[in-house]
C-alpha cells in the first residue's frame, strides 16, 4: 500500500485540459438546489419527530386535540388545490420544452392561483381555530400541530412569491440559462412541498382525526 501503482505513461500523458470543457450551469445549479432540498427535508423530518413526541394524549394537557377540530374533507380540498397547482406547473414546464412562453405563463398563473387557494384555506382554518381559542399556546401538542403545519404554509407562501418573480423574469428576459435554471429549481421546490403536504395530511390531519 505504500505507493499507488502508476498506470499512465508520463511521456504521452495529457497534462492540460485542451478540450476546453465548460461546466453546465443549469445542472450545477439544480444539483445545489437538490442538496438544499435535502436539508429542507431534514428540517421537516425533525419537525415530524417533534410532532411524534408531542402527540400523546398527555401532550394536549386536557385541552383540545386534533380529533376534536380536524375536518378531513376541508383539508382534502387543500390537498386537491395543492396537487392541481403542481400539475399546472408541470403543464407550464411542458410548454417550456416547446419554447412556448405563453403556455408557461398560463401554467404558472394557474399554479399561483391554486397555491393562493391552498393558502387562503389554511389561513381561514387557522383563524377559525383562533376564534375557538385554540392557538399554539394551548398545549405542547397544539404547539407541535401549529408549527408543523404553518412552517409548511410558510414554504408555500415563499414559493408563491417565487412564482410571481419567475413569471416577471420570463416575461422580461425570456428563456435564458438563468431563468430556465430557476424554473427547474422552482419546480423541484414546489413538487417537494406537495410531497411534504402528503405526510402532513396523513400523519397530522388524518391520524389526528382518527386518534
Amino acid at each position: 500500500m505504500s505507493s499507488h501503482a502508476s498506470t499512465v505513461d508520463p511521456k504521452k500523458a495529457e497534462l492540460w485540459d485542451t478540450h476546453h470543457h465548460s461546466h453546465d450551469v443549469i445542472s450545477t445549479r439544480t444539483l445545489g438546489y437538490f442538496l438544499y432540498l435535502l436539508s429542507d427535508g431534514m428540517l421537516f423530518a425533525t419537525l415530524f419527530a417533534a410532532y411524534g413526541v408531542l402527540s400523546y394524549q398527555h401532550s394536549y394537557f386536557g385541552g383540545p386535540t386534533p380529533a376534536e377540530f380536524v375536518k378531513p374533507w376541508y383539508t382534502f380540498a387543500q390537498t386537491i388545490a395543492l396537487f392541481l397547482s403542481v400539475l399546472a406547473y408541470g403543464f407550464g414546464m411542458n410548454a417550456l420544452k416547446h419554447k412556448n412562453k405563453s403556455g408557461l405563463i398560463n401554467g404558472m398563473l394557474a399554479a399561483f392561483v391554486l397555491g393562493v387557494v391552498f393558502l387562503v384555506l389554511d389561513i381561514h382554518d387557522m383563524s377559525h381555530l383562533y376564534s375557538m381559542g385554540i392557538t399554539l399556546a394551548s398545549s405542547g401538542g397544539m404547539s407541535a400541530f401549529m408549527v408543523l403545519t404553518q412552517v409548511h404554509a410558510t414554504h408555500i407562501f415563499f414559493g408563491l412569491i417565487w412564482i410571481l418573480v419567475m413569471m416577471a423574469q420570463v416575461m422580461t428576459k425570456g428563456f435564458t440559462e438563468e431563468t430556465v435554471g430557476r424554473l427547474l429549481t422552482l419546480r423541484m421546490f414546489w413538487h417537494l412541498q406537495a410531497v411534504i403536504w402528503v405526510f402532513v395530511y396523513i400523519f397530522v390531519y388524518l391520524w389526528g382525526y382518527i386518534s
Binding site: L31, M42, A137, G140, V165, R182
Partner: protein, 702 residues
Amino acid sequence: MLVDLPGGWSPLLGRLAWSQIPYANPILAPLFVAVVIGAIIVLGLITYYGKWTYLWKEWLTTVDHKKLGVMYIIIGLVMLFRGFIDGLMIRTQQVWAVGPHSSGVFGSLHGYLTPFHFGQVYSAHGLIMILLAATPLLVGFMNIIVPIQIGARDMAYPYLNALGLWITAAAAALIMISLFVGDFAHNGWFEYAPIFEMQYSPGVGVDYWIWTLQLVALGTTLGGINILATIIKMRAPGMSWGKLPIFVWASLSANVIALTSFPALQVALGLVAADRYLGAHFFTAGMGGNLMLYTNLFWIWGHPEVYFVILPAFGMMSEIFPTFSEKPLFGYITMVLASMAIAGVSWLVWLHHFFTMGAGPYVNTAFSVATMLVGIPTGVKVFNWAFTMYRGRLTFNAAMLWAIGALFLLLIGGMTGMMLAIPAINYMVHNSVFVVAHFHSMLLVIVYAIFGSVLYWFPKVFGFKLDEFWAKTMFWLFSAGTALVFVPMYMLGFMGMTRRLEYVFNTGWQPYLDVMEFGIVVYTLSVLAFFILLYVSVRDHAKNRVGADAWGTSRSLEWMTHSPVPFYNFAVLPHINERDEVAWRRQHGIDNVRPEHYEDIHMPNNTGVAIILGGLTFVLGFALTWRIWWLCIVSLLAIIVLMIVRSFRGDPGYIITGAELQRMEEEAYRREAQIADSHHSHPVSGGVVGNAMAYQRNDSSK
C-alpha cells in the same frame, strides 16, 4: 405578542433601554472603552492610508474563494482569541474562588465574577469555540484549498460563498455585541430545558444565543451545499473519485454531515424561539411540553457537528503527514472509507451525551455500542498515519509537530471517549470536569490540525513561509499549556469536581487548580508567540518567499499553481493522471512543463450584495433579540427585495483574454525563477529509502 415580557417594552426600541448597557460593570466598561479606542485607531489608520477603496473592492465585495477563505480564517482566529480570553477568565475565577475564606471583589462573594456573569462567560466560551472559531477556521480552509485541490477556478456558487461568509460574520458580530448591549445566555452553550424558558431566563441572553446560532447554522448550511456541489461538479478533467486528494474527501464527508444535521439544530432553535416569543409549549415543564425533546433534538445535531469539525482536521493531518514523510498516504481507500463511516456513525450516537436521561438499559446499550464503533474507523486513521510516517524521511518542521501533537491528543481524547462510551463509567463522571477534559482533548486535535494547516498552507496563500523558530516556540508553549491545564482536569474529574463551578467548595483541589492556572498562563505565552510569529514572518517575508511547490515534497494539486495563488487559480486547467498528481509529475520530471497556449477564461464579477445581505441579517438578528418588531419587518423585507432585485440583474461575469493570461503567467514564472536563484538548491536525496517508496525531491539547481 403572546408572552408576557418582564420589564419594559416600547414600540420604537423594543426591550432596548439605557439600563441594558452594563456601563457600571468593572470588567465590561473598561473593555468597551478599549474596544472603542481600538476601533477608532483601526478605522483612522485605514482612512489615513486611504485603503477604504482597496478594502471594499478587493475584500468586502470579493467572490474569490481564497479571499473569502482568508476572511473566514480571520473571523475564526479573532473568535478563537475571544474564546481563549473567556477560558482565561474561567480558570482565574476557579483558582481564586476556592473555599469559604476566599476573597471576592467586583460585587462577587468569591472570586471576581458573579455567578450570573460567570455563567455567561462559560456559555459564550463553548459556543464561540465550537461554532465561531473551529467552524469558520475549518470552513475557511475548505474554501481555500478544496477548489484548488480539485483543479477548479472557483467554487460552484461564488456569490453564495460570499453570502455564507457575511452571514457567519453577522453571527460573530451578534455575539460580540452581546458583551456591551444586554447579556448573553448563562445556562451553558447547549442550554437546558426548561431553564431557557421566559419565566426562568427573562433577559435577552437566550435570545442572543438563539439568533447567533441560527445565523451560524444558516451560513454553514449554505457553505456546505457549496462545497458539496463544488466537489461533485467542478473537478478538473481526469480527476475521478479515486484520485481525489484526501482533504477533499474529508471535506466531502464533513459537509454531508453539515448539510443533513444543521436543519435539526435550526428546528430545535426555532422551537425554543416559538416557546419564548409565541408562548408555545414545546419544552415547558407543564402544559404538555417535553423537556428531553429539546436535549434530543439538540444533540441529534450536536454529535454530527462534533464530527463535522473533526473530519476536516483529520483531512488536514492526512495532507501534512505524507508531505513531511515524503511518502504517499498509507491506505488511501481505507482512509476514505473511514471518513465516510465516521460520517455515518455520527448519526447513531447522540444519546451518549445524556445516558443519565434514564432511557433504560437497552437504549443506553445500543448507543454505547454505536459510540464504541466510532473507534474502529478512527483507529484505522491513526494506524494509517502511523504507517505513513513509518520508514518515511521525516521532516520535523513546525507543521509536522502540530500534526504529531494532534495525533497524541487524539489518542488521549479517543481513549477517554471510549471510557465515557460505557454507561457504567459515564454515570460516575457525568457532568464532571473529566468530560470537559475529554472533549477539550478532542477539540484541541482540531486546533492542532488548524495551526499545522496555517503553517502548511500559508506559503500557498501568501507566497512566503512563516518563521520556523517562533512557530516551534508557539507549539511547545501551547503543548505545555495543554498538558498543564488538562492533565489536572482529568484528575479533578475523577475526584468528583463538577463542571461550571463558579465557587469551588473543596480546598483540597487548590493545588490542581493552581497548576491549571499556571497552564493557562503558559497558553497565554503561546498566544504571544503567535503574534510574534506573525510579526516576524511579515517583517522577513522577502527572505522566505517560495515558489509553486513551497515544501519541495508536496503531493496534491494546490502545489502546482503559483504561490500566492493567482485569482484565476490555474491559467490552464490541468489534466489529472494520477492520485498525487504533483508528486507524480515531479517524479517523472515533467513538473516544469508549461501549457502551450492560453485560452480566454470566464470569471464572476465582485458584488456588494452579499455583504449588504450579511449586514441586514445582523440587523434582523439584533431586532429579533430585542423584539423591535418594526425593525424585524423592515430588515426582512429589505432582504427579500434585495434578493429579488439581484436575481433580476444576474451576473454576466467577465472574460480574461488568453493574451492577458499569458502576460500574467510569464510574470509569475519570472518571479518564481528569481526566488529559485536567490535560494540555495534544495536538499537532494535518493528515491528509495528502506523499503518505502519515496518520490524524489525537486532539484531546482539542475
